[in-house]
Amino acid sequence: MYDSGKIIAGLLIFVLFVTIPVWYNRGSAGAVPDLELPKDAKTCVLPAAEIRAEHMKLLNVWRDEVLRDGERGTFEVDGKQYQKSLMLTCMKCHTSKVRFCDRCHDYTSVNPYCWNCHLAPVE
């Protein structure tokens, strides 16, 4: 191989360069986000595992039912009535968007556009 020294050195530099994200985030990338759960509410509208996986779909279902079908009635969970509403139900318990919503969304690098229009509670 001609110029093997230069080629191997170049390849090494290239590999180091493309793996920068791995080196740079070494150690810190695995930390699971620490959510602040509501203090006075014990139950959510769905079990924790389900709401964690399905909350975005549930919000879409609520939106379509309320807005498009005009079904604005409440539903009952553990004897308590809830409205189908992000601002009037979710955010009444989860009073901090920054310490609840954003932590997971930042971690998983998703940017939901809910808050372009919807108003988060004052923090």
Binding site: L67, R72, M87, C117, L119
Partner: protein, 267 residues
Amino acid sequence: MDTNRRNFLKVAGISTLAGLGGTTIVNRLIAGVDEAHAAAAAGAEMEQKAAETIRYGLVIDIKKFQQDPSLGEKAVNACHQIHNVPKFPEKRDEIKWIWMTHFENAFAESPNLYQDEANQTHLLPILCNHCDNPPCVRVCPTKATYRYEDGIVGMDYHRCIGCRFCMAACPYGSRSFNWRDPRPFIENINRDYPARTRGVVEKCNFCVERVQAGLQPACVEAVGDSKALVFGNLKDPNSEIRQILKEKQTIQRNPSLGTIPSVFYIV
């Protein structure tokens, strides 16, 4: 080649027949399916018609707004406050759900040559007419604006792509476009109702969130017992709004367009 002219013609003839016959049969089948669909749709429509016992409407008494000009301000402020309608410094950015205007602007079809003094000097409120035959709904490419079964023409801002076809279609100018981010221009934020984002069209929603929960629209509540605004079910012959419509002559905006508004004016 062993194909002679005679055999070629036979094959060609049979293929043509098969092709023609085939398409007719396929068309027949498609037509049959369509008929079945149409029958099912007609059935559903009949049911819906029967269920349609509500059509919300509003009667606006112009005389009362002339006698007490503060009523108009009250109604507009209540609406804009409750729905987080922004107040932009420049007129070209203006967002409005309900606003006060001159008689000749609201009723361009009425004879306005020798106007009475009261109408010359006073303003009257105008808002979305929640038409029975809404042109905005017909043109919306994403169905972001639609008509509820109770007659309210609503908006789903999640779907609005900001094409502004509805603004071109609405003959009443009831719709406003968010050219800028409205959030910094909302004076008193109401955290029980969402705001809007840049790039969507917005308009009066007849307080659908209140009406469908059994409340009166914010503007009607704001004018109190003056009866300057009366809201109710137009399909209920015993409702207050129908009594008023029975007793008093009312006019509507641009009736010749055939949009069939749900908002009536007592002149």
